[in-house]
């Protein structure tokens, strides 16, 4: 049987745990609740929540006074928060504390007169929330996703401030900050990448080099999982990104002695366990 090494820091992060727990609690307490978008990029967990009558909100018209709505860990732009408050609903704010810190830091940079560069994925809910705080505080800025994007968009500015989506790739963050530093006179950076992310990424780097096959578990739409897979693939071409155990292909493990497993921030433990059991079966 192959040797399976599961990354210690795989799976749910602090912020996701809080959001999932809050959603379960809301379902149990109020008998019905909404979340603004899927609470995590994990179909299985979403199913559990649906059983508790906790569902993704489809439109504001759906909401009735007194309904409970939970803001997921990604956070929202301030105007959405206000809209919800104005509707008289019971608002549960499960925005990750690390994301809230990014909001504060963006506002601080704007106050101090910096043009803001947000290192993050365009269109990602967390980034939309951060942008909302940038706009609301009257600031100007851009979102950049990769080096070419940064080089193409980077405006002539003397004073630039930087924050990052909490789950950003550290290598891109470092490269981007370095590039910006050499193209401005003054740069202020708040390193808002959360520890869970960097620890998980560092572990995947070590693991990927050490094994024959790497399995990364997590939603195909989960940005942080895709990044883990990216990092792993750069160091080990035999990297496979899956959502569930039944996607495992026995061919991948032919002659594999050491197999590494890690998972994105929104992958619950029991899915990781299922995958490990299935790999054991395949390589038995």
């Amino acid at each position: 049987m192959a040797n399976i090494k599961v990354a210690k820091n795989a799976g749910f992060c602090f912020g996701v745990k809080i959001a999932v727990d809050s959603a379960i609690e809301a379902g149990e307490k109020y008998g019905r609740a909404y979340t603004n978008g899927p609470i995590i990029h994990n179909k299985q967990v979403v199913q559990i929540l649906e059983n508790l009558n906790v569902r993704e909100l489809q439109s504001y018209e759906q909401l009735q006074e007194g309904d409970t709505i939970l803001i997921r860990s990604h956070g929202v732009p301030p105007k959405i928060e206000r809209t919800l408050k104005d509707l008289g609903v019971n608002l549960i704010d499960a925005t990750c504390p690390f994301v809230k810190k990014v909001h504060e830091k963006v506002r601080q940079l704007v106050e101090e007169g910096y043009f803001v560069v947000i290192i993050g994925e365009k269109g990602h809910p967390e980034v939309i929330g951060i942008l909302g705080h940038l706009e609301e505080s009257g600031g100007k800025g851009i979102v950049v996703e990769n080096m070419e994007d940064l080089i193409r968009k980077f405006p002539k500015r003397n004073r630039v401030g930087v924050v990052a989506q909490t789950t950003q790739n550290e290598e891109f963050f470092e490269e981007a900050v370095g590039y910006i530093a050499s193209n401005v006179e003054e740069l202020k950076v708040f390193n808002t990448i959360c520890d869970a992310t960097s620890v998980r990424q560092e572990e995947v780097k070590r693991l990927a080099k050490d094994v024959d096959v790497m399995i990364i578990i997590g939603g195909k739409h989960s940005g942080n999982t895709r990044r883990l897979a990216q990092i792993s693939k750069a160091l080990n071409p035999n990297t496979y990104h899956i959502e569930k155990a039944d996607e495992l292909n026995p061919v991948w493990f032919k002659n594999a002695e050491n197999i590494g497993v890690s998972a994105g921030a929104s992958t619950p433990d029991w899915i990781i366990k299922e995958v490990v059991e299935k790999i054991k079966e395949i390589t038995a």
Copy 2:
């Protein structure tokens, strides 16, 4: 034959020009003057200055009241400036304005409570001057010369400020700033590297937009060359990074009318010439 545009190169910098002019003026005006250390490493210029009786100061004992001494472009620690003033000499301060700005920025970082990282060569006169201003303002900090040095010395600090020796390598500056950013919570950087490198990058940006094919010459492991190639590629996909003329592929130049050429900081002139000749041959 295609039209080949080679990026221009800059000559003597602004600060050295000021210092040399001031020294000549001092010699002509006062009939004798000293400089604190060699003003420039160029035999012809040193000879001209000696003919004007402008020489390097060997020791303070040499100085008599009323003598003229010129502080060269590198600047000095504040206590040296005070010592000279106390000696009652005629002080000409030819410190480069860009170096003076580093002194100011170090003091600002100390005032704002940052631990200071000076990116520069230990023992270089400019760095000794900068360190003098750091110490005089009661700040704490380190000088780092390369990445190993930085990684070895970097202390656990939450808030770090960075300045650079004006002639520092941009590539090391970028890498260092990136590394520091990912190891602190808050970083403030004053990019005090003087324009030469950024001028080269700006030129590549203009050139890349104007031509059909861009050739960037320089070591494949040279960060500053790779950066030039990256910048060029973002604006012109027909960018090729080569080390030597024999890597040129005739296919690249099919139908190309305008060809741009630039090179990294460490590429000797004769290699650039060889490449240009080879392109002429290919496109003849």
